[in-house]
Subunit: 97 residues, 4 copies
């Protein structure tokens, strides 16, 4: 998992900040579902709807980070000389996305 | 969203407890990613891996709740007389799952 | 795979016909992509777009069949007495949907 | 859809051939489901299993083409000067994958 190129490549600060902001909101959403689950009469489908909404919000964060990674690191991999690593680790993370 | 049958149908207590337990762990996982994102040298693919792991954990909670809903409420819908509502709200929540 | 209840439960004729109609169109779509792939200058992203469209069309067929299964067989499982089989085989097929 | 860079970028011949081979098999699989649907006693879940298997096979073709696109075109986008197009069209096709 610790690969040589990791030390050179970094998530850009603006995307990092935006991802943080969104994850804070996702944490709040998870806490909302935890509160829902304290009620004895919570209905299954209402829980399923909230879980789906949280996954949608996580997908959005993933898309942000992926766009940033593509623009900053993937499109320059040939110049940098780490094509194999970049492509295989990206395919791994895209599986079943 | 508030449907007549909601007041009668409840997530069973054991599943509710198990879902809570898992969501507490998911909240911890989200907080872990928030800490990762504080580091200036965090690598995009490491963030994407963690987001994917969190989605996998949410899928597990969803499967638990879905199994419970199917066993306790869906298989008895015809007897209860709320087939239309049960089927349509379930299909809605399964979309793009 | 061959379960006792299979011999009693059948996909309703109207849905069966609609599924057939849609799958004929999907076969045509697959043949369209096969023709695309004969061209030496086909572009990767154009192929990916078509594959995605075919998966979308298959999802639609799946939703049709699932709705029919829920309405005709799942909501009556308790009356029929095959809850365990119905729930587990359904969860199996919904995984990673 | 017709973009300037399309005329320069092509799916590599080996991947094109492998994708064709797999799509021929997928067409056969679709025809198998069409035959299943001719039987009056076909069971819903058996159809759903086959649809899921076909989607799995399409995902495999998609992964092949995506790997080839990443290696041949995405990692060289910066050198070529079409980063914006390459990144946005890729993100579009990866959505809900």
């Amino acid at each position: 998992m610790a690969t040589a190129h990791r030390h050179k490549l970094r998530l850009d600060p603006k995307t990092r900040e935006e991802a943080r902001r969104r994850l804070l909101s996702i944490r709040g959403h998870v806490e909302g579902v935890l509160r829902m689950l304290e009620a004895e009469d919570v209905y299954c489908v209402d829980v399923l709807k909230q879980l789906k909404a949280i996954e949608g919000a996580l997908d959005k964060v993933g898309e942000l980070v992926l766009r940033s990674h593509l623009r900053d690191h993937v499109v320059t991999a040939h110049e940098r000389g780490d094509v194999d690593t970049i492509v295989e680790e990206l395919l791994e993370v895209l599986k079943y996305r």
